[in-house]
């Protein structure tokens, strides 16, 4: 694509986010590139690796205990997007710290660890666990608090709708991240997102990650029932791009916070729209599922 004149940034150059320098501005979104370990044997004629140009991999969300996730089906494709109800299947923080993080470091994957919990003190405890081993990890750059996953009944969606709770979670994590960046990933399933973003920044977040998936539902006409066993899922993909842009604009204009834009990015044009609104970085989600080189391709196209 022809890059617009106003775009003079090299997205593959390091930039500062809070107390940390991040290797680049084009990231993979949580849940869309696993823990970041699955791309090393993938190649194409155009790229040596799916990691080419990627500024950070935001890992699959990790919780205090391992989680089995939801029953099948977990996915529903719709004409302009996809519903998912994975249910935070993950290995838990113990296994992540002992097995996954060392492997990410060995492979040199720039990593942001996504965390979810049901109480603020659990965020504090998980970040404390990471902080305790931080000295071994040059490629671990920060934490993204998943305050908005809509699929977990006991926390997740409702959890992230309260500005007080958002602030409590960020405040619990902040002291354990003296030299790593801290992002708060917010739900779009609220009337106004700015109060949540303001609470997060006031409590010490370096940036707001916005947005997570939009709550949706698909009906199986054969049975007359919701297709997903948990009824609702998280809607992602091209359809939510304008929703994400509106929320990012609201945060930038009303809070002035640094924002990492997420939502429906499939092309470099999509990513540029977030940067045009003031986002400091972007994350590629559903498109990374379709094509392991989607993020690398956007990074390459936006490089000057």
């Amino acid at each position: 694509m022809q890059l617009p004149d106003w775009w003079q940034t090299d997205p593959c150059q390091r930039f500062t986010l809070g107390p940390r320098e991040i290797p680049g501005r084009i990231w993979t979104a949580s849940g869309c590139f696993g823990y970041g370990l699955s791309g090393h044997d993938i190649s194409s004629p155009e790229f040596a690796s799916p990691y080419d140009g990627i500024g950070a991999v935001v890992t699959k969300t990790v919780t205090p205990q391992p989680r089995a996730g939801n029953p099948m089906p977990r996915l529903a494709e719709l004409p302009c997007g996809a519903l998912n109800s994975i249910g935070l299947q993950n290995v838990g923080i113990d296994h992540f710290v002992s097995e996954v993080l060392p492997e990410l470091e060995r492979l040199g994957v720039p990593t942001i660890v996504s965390l979810a919990a049901t109480r603020p003190d659990e965020f504090g405890e998980m970040t404390r666990r990471l902080h305790a081993v931080a000295g071994r990890y040059d490629h671990w750059h920060g934490v993204e608090l998943n305050l908005s996953c809509p699929n977990v009944a006991e926390g997740g969606h409702d959890f992230g709708r309260s500005a007080e709770t958002v602030a409590a979670c960020v405040a619990a994590a902040r002291p354990h991240l003296p030299d790593r960046c801290l992002l708060a990933k917010l739900t779009p399933n609220v009337g106004e997102i700015a109060p949540l973003a303001h609470a997060a920044v006031a409590a010490g977040a370096d940036a707001i990650a916005a947005i997570n998936t939009v709550i949706g539902l698909e009906v199986d006409l054969a049975s007359g029932q919701p297709l997903l066993p948990r009824r609702f899922g998280g809607y992602s993909g091209p359809a939510i791009l304008p929703i994400a842009l509106a929320k990012v604009d609201e945060i930038v204009c009303e809070v002035g916070a640094a924002v990492v834009g997420i939502g429906g990015i499939a092309t470099s044009e999509d990513a540029l729209k977030f940067f045009a609104l003031g986002a400091v970085a972007v994350q590629v989600g559903t498109a990374q599922l379709r094509d392991p080189f989607a993020t690398a391709e956007i990074a390459r196209e936006l490089s000057r």
Partner: protein, 278 residues
């Protein structure tokens, strides 16, 4: 338990050479990838279209064959993705990401193999049969009726069953009934254990697993699931497993179909939970 991955996973651009019905319900797609690709029987690729027809999720298809730069698939039109794929004419671009997942293993030295393939579950076992078959191995294919059977692929020893004994081409032979019932007679006529390899609809897999267990025969099944990514990053295509007693299994009872499968030991699958997802 399966044959594991073979070689690197590649994302390539393919051009349609042929996309033609070879039976009343099955279509063979031949893609020219412009370079040779190696695969193991049972592996699959994620295919997608480009431009306005591009799908949010690529679709998984088992690899039927690779000859030089041409990779072949077999599919049935079951939804929007396969309907769009069926409209692609020679020269059209189809994106290829593969080979992915594990595979059926080579034949064991100590026992013959019994193959059960149902409908569009044929590709991995067709590939196995072409690569590994020995004189003592047996292959069974089941179709809906004579017109549904891809006869051109089933030379060289395949035994055919059909749900309805109609529309048989001249000279063709078929047994009337389900392929699992046709293959089951191996239990009573064989002089020793067999390794059962199965791919097809879930009822076929479950029935194969059941009678293989009756004979105390090992059984490997290739499972079909909805997939988001095909390379193990989204956890959208999990298969429920029985706990092995390992504490980790008790907490994480699912395996990804795309990366840990699609070939599983039948005895590891929780068939009751699997049935609830059909």
């Amino acid at each position: 338990m399966n044959g594991g991955q073979s070689g690197n996973r590649l994302r390539l651009t393919g051009h349609v050479l042929a996309n033609t019905a070879i039976s009343s319900g099955l279509i063979r797609l031949d893609l020219d990838l412009g370079r040779p690709v190696s695969f193991a029987p049972g592996q699959f690729a994620m295919l997608n279209l480009t431009g306005p027809d591009s799908l949010v999720f690529s679709r998984p298809f088992s690899i039927l064959a690779c000859e030089e730069t041409v990779v072949s698939f077999l599919y049935r039109v079951v939804g929007r993705g396969t309907a769009l794929l069926a409209r692609q004419e020679p020269g059209c671009v189809v994106t290829f990401f593969g080979p992915l997942g594990g595979s059926f293993p080579p034949p064991p030295d100590d026992s013959p193999v019994v193959i059960l393939a149902g409908g569009v579950g044929l590709p991995p076992l067709y590939a196995w049969w072409r690569r590994y078959r020995r004189g003592e191995d047996r292959a069974y294919f089941g179709g809906r009726d004579g017109a549904d059977v891809p006869w051109s692929l089933l030379e060289e020893g395949w035994r055919v069953s059909v749900d309805r004994l109609t529309n048989l081409p001249p000279g063709a032979e078929a047994w009337e009934g389900l392929v699992v019932d046709y293959g089951r007679h191996e239990l009573t006529t064989s002089d020793g254990p067999r390794l059962v390899l199965a791919c097809g609809p879930a009822p076929l897999l479950r029935a194969a697993a059941r009678w293989a267990a009756e004979g105390n025969w090992p059984c490997l099944v290739s499972v079909e699931e909805r997939m988001g990514c095909g390379y193990g990053v989204c956890n959208g295509c999990v298969v429920p497993l029985l706990a092995t007693g390992d504490a980790t299994d008790a907490v994480l009872p699912y395996a990804t179909c795309c990366e840990e499968g699609p070939v599983f030991a039948a005895e590891r699958i929780d068939w009751d939970a699997f049935a609830r997802t059909e």
